[in-house]
């Protein structure tokens, strides 16, 4: 049995189910308790679990991320919510220098089973400081796992896997996708970390993406289908470790690949995918892999800037036609 729920509800179910099962799991962050979450993801959780386990913090990202790390090293399983990942930048020291490295530094004695979660990516006209993606930043760091996913069914299963995972996991959501609806099973399930999902089957071209850009790929694929081009759409879901098997199998079938990534182009997820495709599917490629990213600049406020900045179906279709050697 399944029902249709929003991404925000799916994420809350994931946290609540794990908190019911394991007393060591708790949620901490700005406005998560009394305000029910800045984006209402934790709505009702204070009522169910009480203030010992659903904890409002002051605006002190570095401090509470570090408290999470310490608590995790000492046997608890914190879920640390950042209002958005833009503010998690203040906490990168604790995530990168401690959460990611504790196991290695301690020769395997101290793990850090913690989840850092919150929205990543542009969300309208929010300008430079509030519009960034952080998958590439976090995935660059060994010791961390990185999930980035907006499909309610996958996001729920992956967040549950992240919470029970023994390693630190960064989970990236999307401010403007919390209301996105999808079919989610009634019964409990886990979605494995490190596995991509083929959202749409196709034969002519592989579109690889993650987070809300998968929806832009869906739209592009619809349009392309009308022109007789069959696009396969892959949602990476997990950024690190990356599911190369699914990517490579698809490219070997379609022989063409476009990566659609909201992150900036330089040293990003798109470069990583592209590197692996050329390495492991070189002989199968009929064209160079190209990518559609956000513009290589800071995003400004005006609507014309947002339009210029983000990947969209038009830009994706143009890229697909380029690798298909079809005139646009």
């Amino acid at each position: 049995m399944s029902r249709i729920i929003t991404l925000r509800d799916a994420l809350r179910e994931a946290m609540s189910e794990e908190m019911r099962k394991d007393k060591n799991v708790f949620l901490m962050g700005e406005e998560v308790a009394e305000y029910n979450g800045a984006y209402k993801v934790s709505k009702g959780m204070l009522d169910e679990f009480g203030p010992e386990r659903v904890i409002d913090t002051p605006i002190t990202e570095l401090g509470f991320a570090g408290i999470g790390v310490g608590a995790a090293m000492n046997g608890l399983k914190p879920i640390v919510e950042f209002m958005t990942w833009n503010f998690a930048v203040l906490a990168f020291d604790q995530i990168v220098n401690n959460a990611a490295k504790t196991l290695s530094q301690s020769g395997g004695q101290f793990g850090c089973p913690i989840v850092f979660r919150g929205p990543s990516g542009a969300a309208g006209q929010l300008a430079q400081q509030h519009s960034q993606t952080f998958e590439s930043w976090m995935a660059n760091c060994p010791g961390l796992k990185v999930i980035s996913c907006i499909d309610p069914v996958d996001a729920k299963g992956l967040l549950k896997s992240a919470i029970i995972d023994e390693d630190p996991v960064c989970v990236m959501e999307s401010e403007i996708m919390y209301g996105l609806k999808g079919d989610v099973p009634e019964e409990e399930y886990y979605t494995p970390i490190g596995k991509a999902r083929v959202r749409r089957k196709g034969t002519d071209i592989t579109l690889i993406s993650y987070n809300k850009m998968v929806l832009e790929c869906d739209k592009a694929a619809e349009e392309l289908a009308k022109e007789g081009i069959s696009a396969e759409v892959i949602d990476l879901r997990t950024i690190r470790p990356m599911d190369l098997d699914t990517i490579i199998a698809s490219v070997k079938k379609t022989n063409r690949c476009v990566v659609v990534d909201e992150a900036w182009p330089f040293a990003g997820v798109s470069s990583e995918v592209t590197y692996n495709v050329q390495k492991f599917a070189f002989d199968y490629l009929d064209a160079p892999v190209i990518r559609v990213n956000s513009a290589d600049v800071s995003l400004g406020y005006a609507p014309t800037f947002v339009e210029e900045y983000l990947p969209n179906p038009t830009k994706i279709i143009r890229a697909v036609k380029e690798v298909m050697y079809v005139n646009a």
């Binding site: 002051p58 006209q125 430079q128 290589d296 600049v297």
Partner: protein, 341 residues
């Protein structure tokens, strides 16, 4: 949440400041209030988008800033900044156009509500990262000292921001190095939905300064006179080379945190208590009492400001959006920077 405000001073018969001073404060506060009312209206029409935080209720602080420091002093604050920008002397046209995302805006449509800047007005901007401007303001002041000027940098932040570690690091260095920085926490009682009392045992935020031996005091933020006087005291101390000063200005925001916040975490009574002490109302009363202006003249001032704000909206509305390609401007000083495509 209850804030202890200094009791309103008893009816003074003798005005403390000149006619010009009172009228200047009054006009600035009314301009800010009316600018923000237009902002909210235009937001409801979706002409303004994104995160938008208005200054309504806190105008007396901006008014005090027009007289308590000099135009050469520097200033940096957070995202609740429209009123501060006007107080720095920026014009309503370029501010409103920025809210509309137009190329005629003070940062060419790049920043929107949270990020006005003006080098001409020594305004180092609205910062969107809570607390980030605390060390930045300290650094701006560091540069003034380094160059041997007499200027200070006013560094403003909210009660929520006062809990960020950056404050403690900055306070320590500023005190140790005698940096000419005037820290102002605008304590409006809440950081989003979180009251001051829920974020720390230290509810009188100015006492934080004591840990660093920094002169610190609480100020009634509903009174332009009180703000002005506190700024002058602080500025005198700082300009004498004695290092930083910390003012906790107690104020209140009448509206939600941002346009999307209904503000359910506080009571109507609390809000109404503050509206009783509304700085615009009180200053208007004083002006009439001191016979600095007649009712008619006050009306005329209000009419003129209404016209100014209507003109600002018209200007913003009729201006052009920047071209999408202008997104590539101002990312590097270097010309022809090779962006990846």
């Amino acid at each position: 949440m209850t804030q202890v405000l200094e009791k309103k001073s008893k009816k003074t018969t003798k005005p403390k400041y000149s006619k010009k001073q009172y009228l200047d404060w009054y006009k600035m506060m009314v301009r800010i209030r009316k600018f923000e009312e237009k902002t909210l209206y235009c937001y409801s029409l979706q002409k303004i988008r994104g995160f938008c935080h208005v200054y309504i209720g806190q105008e007396a602080i901006a008014a005090g800033l027009t007289s308590g420091i000099t135009a050469d002093d520097k200033l940096v604050t957070a995202y609740r900044q429209h009123g501060i920008a006007l107080a720095r002397g920026m014009d309503s046209n370029s501010c409103m156009a920025e809210l509309f995302g137009k190329v005629t805006g003070c940062v060419k449509g790049k920043g929107g509500s949270m990020h006005f800047f003006s080098k001409e007005h020594n305004y180092f901007g609205g910062n969107g990262i809570v607390g980030a401007q605390i060390p930045i303001g300290t650094g701006i002041a560091f540069a003034e000292k380094y160059r041997g000027s007499k200027n200070l940098c006013v560094t403003m932040f909210g009660d929520g921001a006062a809990r960020q570690g950056a404050l403690y690091e900055s306070f320590n260095m500023a005190m140790t190095w005698k940096i000419p920085v005037l820290y102002i926490v605008e304590n409006n009682g809440y950081a989003m939905g979180t009251s001051v009392s829920r974020t720390s045992n230290v509810k009188d935020i100015h006492t934080v300064g004591e840990a660093f031996d920094m002169p610190s005091e609480a100020v009634d933020g509903m009174s332009p006179e009180a703000v002005h006087e506190a700024l002058q005291r602080a500025a005198k101390h700082i300009r004498a080379g004695k290092g930083p000063y910390f003012l906790e200005i107690k104020t209140y925001r009448y509206k939600g945190h941002s346009v999307s916040d209904p503000g359910k975490y506080r009571t109507k009574d609390e809000l109404n208590d503050y509206k009783e002490k509304d700085p615009i109302k009180i200053t208007e009363k004083k002006i009439l009492e001191y016979k600095y202006a007649t009712k008619k003249e006050i009306e005329k001032i209000n009419d003129t400001i209404d016209k100014e704000m209507e003109a600002a909206v018209k200007f913003a509305d009729e201006s052009e959006y920047p071209l999408g390609s202008e997104l590539y401007d101002d990312n590097y000083v270097q010309e022809n920077y090779p962006f990846l495509t």
